[in-house]
Amino acid sequence: MIGSQLQQGRSSLLGHVPRRIAGTALSLVLTFVGLTAVTFVIARVMPADPVLAIVGDRAHQDVYDAVYRELGLDQPMLVQYLRYLGQLFAGDLGVSIMTAQPVLDDLLRFFPATLELATVATLLGVFAGVPLGVLAAVRQGRWADHLVRVVGLFGYSVPVFWLGMLALFVFYAKLGWVAGPGRIDIFYEGMVEPVTGLILVDSALAREWDIFRNAIGHLVLPAAILGIHSFAYLARMTRHFMLEQLGQEYILTARVKGVPEGAVIWRHAFRNVLVQLITIVGLTYASLLEGSVLTETVFAWPGIGQYITSSLFNNDMNAVLGGTIVVGTCFVAINMGSDLLYRLVDPRVR
């Protein structure tokens, strides 16, 4: 009887996997359509007159009409949107007014800086937040637990841009422990061949260890500041998940059998928590990728967030929307990817 139930469970599980993937793919497509619809509305519908924005208010009527037709504004809205989607899939995000370059090229140049910052920030958040969360759960109600709670609340409540300014003031201006704003000293600028665009990887590939160390000096402070929120979130969630697991009967069984406490915590409870953490880490990574806008402004970090904000002040809508779409797509893809991974790894999710 149990065997047949198991059999049934297994077959329905296997049957579920393709359906789940299809479901996730459908939401991915829908979300992408929604995202592009919103940017389309912002780009084509909300401005009072997109033609005037291009030709200026002194243009001749013929020029105006030509641009009007060229933009496809005489077509129905749906046709305009489909044309817009077609352009997006061809990689055509328009030309930036500010840099006079295709927006896609600009974004490819600025994106690695953001990727490097967000990745290191997430790693810092994971390696600090997860062990502290475990510690807080194991020492529930004791001072370590309270400390983690206080630090977590602080991380949730502090404005990162303000904390970043204070950190620059203390650790750079006063103590001189870290390098200042920017990705690298001006002296080293352009000395490494950009292979991946990630300075740490590029300088390591070129075996330029001075540059590598310099880049780390620049990176560590913004990454730590950006990582604070994910650290707080991860510590809190890890604590919650661990407490859930530690209250289960299999933990009691393991303890009764005389398994050492360290093994109970790390080999039994934490292994189950690990699966749940996948989604959380994915979520924080995605939110850091978009949340880096403020940190980049404070640390003069030449990333996509700074590109978007500076374009915004120059009324460079192509650049703003191109950046929005690229960051938005990454955000959606990472979220869905971690969701999918979680569903595949954890058979209990139905």
């Binding site: 995202l35 404005p159 904390l163 003031f169 806008v293 402004t297 703003v320 938005g328 959606v332």
Partner: protein
């Protein structure tokens, strides 16, 4: 005093009103034992009091420049010092609390009705309406909030109202999810069945029977999200996309004070502390409310 207490704690309430008061009082008794929640409510109460009393506890509106008093250090005359235009920073922080409350209030007023309407209808009606509305909610849930807010502000133009609108448009979806979950469990309950069998129209059932039952979970979530809303608004202000100078918005004040950090630390420090304390207050209050209203989630 003890008569009131006895009235509030009696086993058999005499009237509907008494029962309602009792419920609130019991919730308050649980809430009071939660130290951090009380700290949270104290902070939020101080914020509200500061905003209400700003004209009486400040010496100026914090907007007019007074160049003879530039960049004074904190002292008895100016508790938080003065800024680069000689304006008293304490006054500005106090008046800024009005703007923070305004942002928080406006976002709630937009977000809660949208979320409730979509969630309750989806949960109560079910079927394809439910799937369609929830797909829409999922789409908005998956959007990058700050970046979309930036794009909205880019299209609408910088300003406090536009920043608020941008935040609201991107943050209603969690409330729809919560309201739907509540409505799903409510639609099968006996009192809804009773209402239906009396021939009350669906719309009235949704508005006056289902929606009020969903409000408490929505409010808990809203309180927990308040800190995030305040931080996003301050972030937009810091980038120069929210409230414009000379409005004493805390994020914009930090942006202006940035240049003075090295020698006049107090210019950017105090608005930042204000943001930190207020978000902390809302976080503590939200945690406390959740513990009171939903004891299951406590760990």
């Amino acid at each position: 005093m003890s008569a009131v207490r006895a009235w509030l704690l009696t086993d058999i309430p005499q009237s509907r009103r008494q029962a309602q008061c009792q419920r609130l009082f019991l919730a308050w008794l649980v809430f009071r034992r939660n130290g951090s929640a009380v700290a949270g409510i104290a902070i939020v109460a101080t914020l509200v009091a500061g905003a209400l009393l700003a004209p009486w506890i400040t010496g100026s509106a914090g907007v007019t420049p007074d160049l003879g008093n530039r960049l004074h250090a904190p002292g008895l005359a100016h508790w938080f010092g003065t800024d680069e235009l000689g304006r008293d920073i304490f006054d500005r922080v106090m008046w800024g609390s009005r703007i923070t409350l305004y942002i928080v209030g406006l976002v709630s007023v937009i977000v809660v009705p949208i979320g409730l309407a979509i969630g309750v209808v989806a949960g109560y009606v079910g079927g394809w309406v439910d799937s369609a509305l929830m797909r829409l909610t999922d789409v908005f849930l998956a959007f990058p909030r700050l970046i979309l807010a930036l794009a909205f502000v880019a299209a609408l133009g910088p300003g406090l109202e536009n920043a608020v609108l941008a935040i609201a448009l991107t943050s209603w979806s969690p409330y729809a999810r919560i309201a739907r979950a509540e409505a799903l469990t409510l639609r099968r309950s006996d009192f809804i069945l009773a209402a239906r069998s009396q021939g009350i129209p669906h719309l009235q059932i949704i508005v006056s029977h289902v929606a009020p039952m969903c409000i408490s979970s929505v409010i808990v979530r809203l309180t927990l999200d308040m800190a995030g809303i305040i931080l996003t608004a301050a972030g937009l202000g810091f980038l120069g996309l929210g409230a414009q100078p000379p409005t004493p918005e805390w994020g914009a004040m930090i942006a202006l004070g940035r240049e003075y950090l090295l020698d006049q630390w107090w210019v950017p420090a105090f608005p930042g502390i204000a943001i930190l304390v207020v978000s902390l207050g809302f976080n503590l209050l939200g945690d406390g409310l959740r513990d009171v209203l939903d004891p299951k989630s406590r760990d």
